[in-house]
């Protein structure tokens, strides 16, 4: 493999990893607060893809983008209100089944509304412009993804560390009951978490699908699971961890595909999951928890 091909593959991997990182943040934040794997997160990401197709059909791209972001955020918060809020005090298995149910519903709804056939993803001319850098050539979106990811993560970290809402989020994820005794509005905080997660998933979806070009009702489920693995890898609840995990999984997967093992590139993610859970169950940056009786 020549150096140029190698760098080209690296670039693809980093770009894919950036999209994964944005989705993984949604998982890690929701898990940090609700202790719930939001199985529907991958499908929210898929729905964002469909929203973009329909928004672009009638609107110019600079209006379509914010519309898609807003609609996806509303969808995420709505799902939390309808499917998770009534189960706040229920056993964890019920909430998880509810999450699986929502994922199932979104997939079936997408199949019904948009048919199971892949639909072409609209091209945003700015993002598709091909750039050449030395021997490398890639569309603008490939260069943009990692940069945008880093910027968004920086903003998110500032939000969490330095604002009142961020402080409330940290408090709720530490101790749910005490936080509510301190006068923190739990439901509002949780809604906010879902809003941020869905917003980032929408951004990730635009970056991811611009490269892939088609959306179909199940295109969210596998990336969703991979991003959850990324979140676990980095230590669930930790945002920098999710970003590192996302990049690593994106790069690893691209490397496997480049080496000609594309059948196993999906299985690779789960192998990573099991290895990390065995070696270091709390992930790279996770906090240790102790078992209380």
């Amino acid at each position: 493999m020549s150096l140029t091909t190698f760098l080209q593959q690296c670039l693809t991997g980093i770009s894919l990893g950036g999209a994964y990182a944005l989705i993984a943040i949604g998982y890690t934040m929701v898990y940090g607060i609700l202790r719930l794997i939001n199985f529907a997160h991958g499908d929210i990401f898929m729905m964002a893809g469909y929203f973009m197709i329909f928004a672009m059909a009638s609107l110019p791209w600079f209006i379509a983008l914010p519309v898609v972001l807003i609609v996806t955020t509303v969808l995420g918060v709505g799902i939390e209100r309808v499917a998770y809020k009534p189960l706040r005090s229920a056993p964890r298995m019920s909430v998880m089944i509810s999450a699986i149910g929502v994922s199932y519903l979104l997939q079936n709804l997408a199949t019904y509304l948009f048919t199971a056939l892949p639909m072409g993803y609209p091209e945003i001319p700015v993002l598709k412009k091909v750039f050449k850098l030395g021997g490398l050539s890639a569309s603008f979106v490939t260069f943009l993804t990692p940069v945008l990811t880093i910027i968004l993560v920086y903003l998110l970290m500032t939000l969490i560390q330095h604002t009142k809402m961020g402080m409330a989020m940290r408090a709720v994820s530490k101790d749910y009951e005490t936080a509510s005794l301190m006068g923190i509005d739990i439901n509002r905080t949780i809604s906010m978490t879902f809003a941020i997660g869905s917003l980032l998933a929408a951004v990730g979806s635009i970056l991811y699908f611009t490269d892939r070009m088609t959306v179909f009702p199940f295109s969210g489920s596998l990336p969703g699971m991979k991003c959850f693995v990324a979140a676990v890898f980095g230590g669930i609840g930790s945002i920098p961890g999710a970003v590192v995990g996302g990049f690593l999984i994106g790069i690893g997967e691209t490397a496997l595909v480049a080496a000609g093992h594309s059948t196993f590139s999906d299985a690779f993610t789960f192998v990573i999951l099991i290895v990390i859970l065995l070696v270091r169950p709390t992930g790279l940056f996770g906090e240790k928890t102790t078992n209380k009786v």
């Binding site: 229920a90 199932y104 519903l105 019904y112 048919t115 699971m225 959850f228 059948t263 299985a267």
Partner: protein
């Protein structure tokens, strides 16, 4: 004395009722079998329900009775299905099944009777489960769910991988699998499987499973070896999932790796949830309701005309939307499902008839 006699009459009554129910089920099956050409649709629904009942009970054994949230069922079913298929496809038809890449010489002439192949399929699934169990069962609830889901995907990826083309026929799948000869065959198979699992649940092992489900730390303090108990439950459940996978292969006559996607696990989870997590009879009833319901709701997929007006919502895919909304309603508002953790009993039914008003589901029980 009189209390004793009352219990005795109750017992006799229940015994008679059970015998009547069994006779009824056998009678219905016999009738369907005798007229199988006019009832082929009903027969196929019943056979599919029986297959799903076995895997639903096996999932309930792990999820409902041992409290391990495992989502690997589809993977174990895939193993059972492929093993059964590989050893039961008639030897003279194998050349036409493996026409793309040829058949591996080791299995080219290996043929086993159906029962042996099914058990072998179950054993392979159980063996893989035992290996997987070592790392995975040390994980806690949601991690376990995602890890088992991941393993099921790995199994599926391996089956579809071109490296195993001469064994699994890769993405072309296997066909010409001999089907059930009559409706009594799946009936007997599923009755035996479910019966064995009920015996296990009611044994001291079953009580160990329930102890682990209720409180792991307390169970450990009582001297239960947590890991061994979980592994036992996981392996046995996978065995029966493998057997039911083999039955599914026989029912469908042709399989490929796409049959065993995560969606299959979700379907089975749906059955378990609707029937009630922790109720064997609930799972069996759930299997019949879900499978039959899915067929009955089929009219949602057809265009509907009232007079000459076409109702706009009815087109392909609507059925599954209705189905998933129903699932969400069950999850959100009837969290216990049909049976909760209760089991079907004649006493419960007679109590219901004497004192109506308390809701209780009935019927369909003995069919599996």
């Amino acid at each position: 004395m009189s209390a004793n006699r009352m219990i005795n009459t109750e017992k006799r009554r229940n015994c008679i009722c059970t015998l009547i129910l069994i006779a009824l089920v056998l009678g219905i099956c016999g009738y369907l079998e005798a007229n199988k050409y006019s009832y082929s649709y009903a027969i196929s629904i019943i056979e599919r329900s029986m297959v799903y009942a076995v895997v639903a009970v096996s999932m309930n054994l792990v999820n409902g009775f041992t409290g391990l949230f495992s989502l690997g069922q589809a993977g174990f079913m895939a193993l059972g299905a492929y093993v059964t298929a590989i050893f039961t496809i008639p030897v003279n038809q194998r050349a036409s099944v493996y026409y793309i890449s040829g058949i591996h010489p080791a299995i080219a002439n290996a043929q086993l009777p159906v029962i042996v192949a099914l058990i072998l399929g179950g054993l392979v699934a159980a063996g893989v489960a035992a290996l997987i169990g070592f790392p995975v069962l040390r994980l806690k609830s949601d991690y376990l769910a995602i890890a088992t889901l991941g393993f099921a995907e790995i199994i599926r990826a391996c089956i579809a991988a071109p490296q195993f083309d001469t064994i699994t026929n890769g993405s072309y799948g296997l066909k010409s699998i001999p089907g059930f000869t009559n409706i009594f065959q799946p009936l007997a198979l599923s009755a035996i499987c479910i019966g064995l699992m009920v015996l296990l649940i009611n044994s001291s092992y079953g009580r160990m499973f329930k102890a682990v489900r209720e409180d792991e730390i307390a169970a450990e303090a009582m001297g239960i070896n947590l890991f061994k108990t979980k592994e036992l439950s996981f392996v046995i459940s996978s065995f029966f999932a493998g057997v039911s996978g083999g039955m599914l292969a026989m029912f469908m006559r042709s399989i490929d790796s796409k049959t065993f996607q995560v969606a299959l696990t979700y379907d089975i989870l749906l059955i378990v949830v609707i029937g009630g997590i922790g109720s064997v009879t609930g799972s069996v009833i759930g299997a019949f309701i879900v499978t039959a319901g899915r067929e009955i709701l089929r009219f949602f997929d057809e265009p509907l005309f009232i007079g000459s007006f076409e109702v706009p919502l009815f087109r392909p895919g609507f059925r599954m939307v209705i189905f998933s909304i129903l699932l969400m309603i069950v999850v959100l508002f009837y969290r216990k499902g049909l049976m909760g953790t209760n089991e079907f009993s004649w006493n419960g039914i007679f109590a219901f008839f004497k004192n109506p008003g308390k809701k209780k589901s009935k019927k369909m029980e003995g069919k599996a």
